[in-house]
């Protein structure tokens, strides 16, 4: 069930990349990962490891088992081909934090050689947990702030594609301890006007002279700092920490199971 959108996405990337390639290069250019000279070569694998640490580990974790970004070991176990991985690194994943890159083909091939060397874990059973219960929990606990498709609030990040952009471990962490890492454009602020009015909101943008927020009523609005007494930058996320008192371990598994199935249509960035 969760495979089909991935296949569709992969097809979309291929079509998209084919179009881009046709514009700038020989359309017959092969995917370089089809014949990767670095596979199995210790020196290349070492270089790939270092490139991975510098460019990928921040999101995918030092051991490639996923941090914020998806678990790459699981992706390999799930049957992702080297060509697919190459295209994904080259083009990025639209609607997620995964950016495209202009790094040389060779760098990408060495990273792939490293990932292959790391091996792979067993493919996860799909999906984990009771997805129906997860969907119910989501509808009752999360939709006030989070949107999926055309339903839900706008205070928190849109989760329509969260299953593509987050590992399960990252989802667990972000539900249990949401203040550990707050995505850009979702940091909480309180604006204190010259009249002493306090406006709480989520910071969308800021420069030395102005700040743009979404307030609790989801109104987006810009304010001139010259008209404010103070801008208070709050350390904690607006998302409450869902500890075991609010969400049992079993329910968390179900919720994350449901979130992992969300691989829907493109969403606006930020």
């Amino acid at each position: 069930m969760c495979r089909r959108p991935m296949v569709w996405l992969a097809a979309l990337w291929l079509v998209n990349s084919a179009l881009v390639l046709a514009q700038v290069q020989d359309p017959a250019t092969k995917n370089p990962a089809a014949s990767n000279p670095h596979l199995g070569k210790p020196e290349s694998i070492r270089s790939g490891m270092m490139l991975y640490r510098v460019r990928c580990a921040d999101c995918h974790g030092l051991d490639a088992s996923g941090y914020r970004g998806p678990d790459l070991m699981a992706a390999l176990a799930g049957g992702a081909t080297d060509e697919r991985i190459f295209q994904t690194i080259r083009k990025g994943v639209p609607g997620t934090e995964m950016p495209p890159t202009t790094a040389p083909d060779d760098d990408l091939l060495q990273i792939i050689a490293y990932l292959r060397k790391l091996g792979s874990v067993a493919a996860p059973d799909t999906p984990i947990g009771n997805v129906e219960n997860g969907a119910r929990l989501f509808a009752s606990q999360c939709t006030a702030c989070h949107r999926v498709g055309s339903r839900g609030g706008r205070i928190g990040p849109d989760l329509s594609r969260i299953g593509v952009s987050r590992s399960r471990a990252a989802l667990v962490r972000e539900v249990r301890t949401p203040s550990e890492w707050i995505p850009p454009a979702f940091e909480a602020v309180t604006l204190v006007t010259k009249q002493g009015e306090r406006i709480r909101g989520i910071k969308k943008n800021e420069d030395a002279f102005s700040i743009q927020i979404m307030d609790k009523s989801e109104r987006i609005q810009g304010y001139l700092k010259a008209n404010l007494q103070e801008v208070v930058y709050e350390k904690a996320s607006w998302m409450p920490a869902f500890g075991t008192d609010r969400l049992s371990d079993n329910d968390l598994v179900d919720l994350v199971g449901y979130l992992s199935t969300l691989r829907g249509s493109d969403v606006a960035v930020r």
Partner: protein, 551 residues
């Protein structure tokens, strides 16, 4: 026909003659009234911004001040500045250029090998030159360009594919085209050429590709090379023993990204040199790696090295020293000193004796964790734990440095040096990498630590003590330069797209305007035209001219 004896014909012939005579007289009169197209002399370049209708060299004057004597725009009226026109390049890529201004015409370079002549009154294009850049061109940081050099009726442009072209100022036509180096090996050029006497001086970049960089001088007329100074010393040359045996120096980097300055009294040009290559892996090139990450003082006629000072011996953090060396004569402890001031990417600000090359004073102007201080011998006293390795080591500042290619400004009246500062840290990785000609050769990389909050600031530094007098902070880092004027204004840019004006003595913000894209390299230039002072600001693919409202 007018030779005919017929009376009517004769009358007609006399009328015709009269008409010819009148036309001839009028033409002569017109020619006398119409000034000839001006050309630029070496004296004009030496004069810097004395004639405020002109801006002829990268930093405004040879000393690198970016300080205009103009006073029409003041701290009192700067908040009335109004956009007069906008020029759009119609191409992708951002401006990093300092326009040349001459006779109410702007000569501007842009992204991807473009250059334009633009009417300074209206922003209308007069001509456009577009270099055909090769498709397989690869460079680290985009096909940016920092501007043109000028002498006589010629413009000089260094190109992304490592050529120097001379252009006809009136048409944009190519007069000559000289190859500096082979772009296929990773060489590229971004600098605005510096014209000194009869020579045009350029530097080569591309150290991320394992190149051996140099500074070249070419004859203005013929395009023939007069001299070359390699920024990595070879075996048997002075400094050659600061590289490991073998050919490491041949891919040792030392890029020239930014235009230098010139001291006519000593006949010396000053250039900051780039980081050694590969960028991060220490073991690949043991030793100090001269003359990378240094300031070099070269004889302008011969290219001979007079002296050098190395800011970061054996740099492993990609801290190019290609900031603008700013020259000034200042009083320190009651003594008049000829100095060169340098806010370095490594996080330290230096005031150096420009006759001897000895450091007078040096202090950090941003948070620096890699060196305790600059010792009395001029070498940094290193703190342990800052060699990049496979596990990663955290160091401040990040690879972008305490400042970078963006131009500083020096106001000689206020005695203050103004710089765009970056407060950043990074985790640096270094590892062995095989060199392949034409391929990127950095042997490492960086990550931003998870909790790191970077920010930017405009800072005013007293060069006598190397201490900060004031600062204005920006929420994000900026790559915009600084411009000052004699009316006591500082113009700067933040990382969010604002051009701003400040009181140079207090740092008080007086004006800002959202350009929609951050400025890079410059904070604009200023000049007089038809009795009005203009502020010309390149940002993104737009060039916007500001002036006070006409009364």
């Amino acid at each position: 026909m007018w030779r005919s004896g017929n009376r009517e014909s004769r009358v007609a012939a006399e009328d015709f003659m009269r008409a010819v005579l009148i036309v001839a007289i009028c033409s002569v009169t017109l020619a006398a009234q119409q000034p000839a197209a001006p050309t630029v002399s070496s004296q004009d370049l030496l004069d810097g911004l004395k004639d405020p209708t002109k801006w002829l060299t990268y930093s405004g004057n040879y000393s690198g001040h970016r300080h205009s004597p103009l006073t029409q725009i003041t701290p009192e009226n700067v908040n009335q500045l109004t956009a007069q026109w906008t020029f759009q390049t119609g191409t992708l890529g951002s401006f990093q250029t300092t326009p040349v201004v001459l006779d109410a015409i702007l000569y501007v370079t842009g992204y991807n090998g473009n250059a334009w002549a633009i009417d300074a009154r209206t922003g209308r294009q007069i001509w456009r030159y577009r270099r055909e850049l090769p498709e397989d061109l690869r460079n680290c940081c985009g096909t940016v360009n920092r501007g043109l050099g000028v002498l006589g009726d010629r413009l000089f442009m260094a190109t992304a594919d490592a050529h120097l072209v001379a252009l006809d100022m009136r048409t944009g036509g190519v007069l000559y085209d000289v190859q500096l180096a082979d772009y296929k090996l990773g060489y590229s050029a971004t600098v605005a050429p510096l014209v000194v006497k009869d020579k045009v001086i350029v530097g080569i970049a591309g150290a991320e590709f394992g190149i051996r960089a140099f500074i070249d001088a070419y004859d203005v007329q013929s395009g023939k090379r007069a001299w070359r100074f390699y920024t990595t010393a070879g075996p048997g040359e002075p400094g050659g023993n600061t590289w490991p045996r073998g050919d490491a120096y041949l891919r040792g980097g030392g890029s020239i990204w930014v235009t230098g300055t010139y001291d006519p009294q000593q006949n010396l040009v000053f250039y900051g040199t780039g980081n050694p290559g590969p960028d991060y892996y220490s073991n690949a090139r043991e030793g100090d790696n001269l003359y990378t990450a240094s300031l070099v003082a070269l004889d302008a006629d011969t290219g001979q090295l007079r002296w050098h000072y190395q800011f970061t011996p054996h740099d492993v953090h990609d801290w190019d020293s290609t900031q603008v060396p700013v020259l000034a004569d200042i009083t320190i402890n009651g003594q008049p000193r000829k100095v060169v001031m340098f806010a370095n990417r490594n996080g330290f600000f230096y005031t150096i004796d420009r006759v001897t090359g000895k450091v007078i004073v040096a202090k950090p102007f941003v948070e620096t964790t890699w060196a305790k201080e600059i010792g009395s011998d001029g070498r940094p006293l290193l703190l342990p734990g800052h060699l990049p390795d496979e596990e990663g080591t955290k160091t401040c500042p990040d690879l972008g440095g305490g400042t970078n290619f963006m131009s500083p400004s020096y106001d000689p009246t206020a005695g203050l040096f103004f710089v765009t500062a970056r407060e950043t840290c990074a985790t640096y990785f270094g590892f062995d990498q095989k060199f392949k000609p034409g391929e990127q050769f950095e042997a490492g990389g960086t990550q931003r630590p998870r909790d790191q909050k970077n920010f930017g600031a405009l800072r005013a530094i007293d060069p006598v003590t190397a201490t900060m007098k004031w600062e204005f902070r920006y929420p994000s880092v900026s790559a915009a330069g600084v411009l000052t004027t004699a009316s006591g204004l500082v113009f700067a840019g933040d990382g969010d797209g604002n051009v701003m004006a400040f009181d140079s003595r207090t740092g008080k913000n007086l004006w800002h305007y959202n350009l929609g894209y951050p400025m890079r390299s410059t904070a604009g230039t200023t000049y007089m035209l038809d009795g009005r002072q203009y502020l010309l600001v390149p940002s993104g693919s737009a060039l916007t001219a500001f002036a006070l409202p006409q009364r």
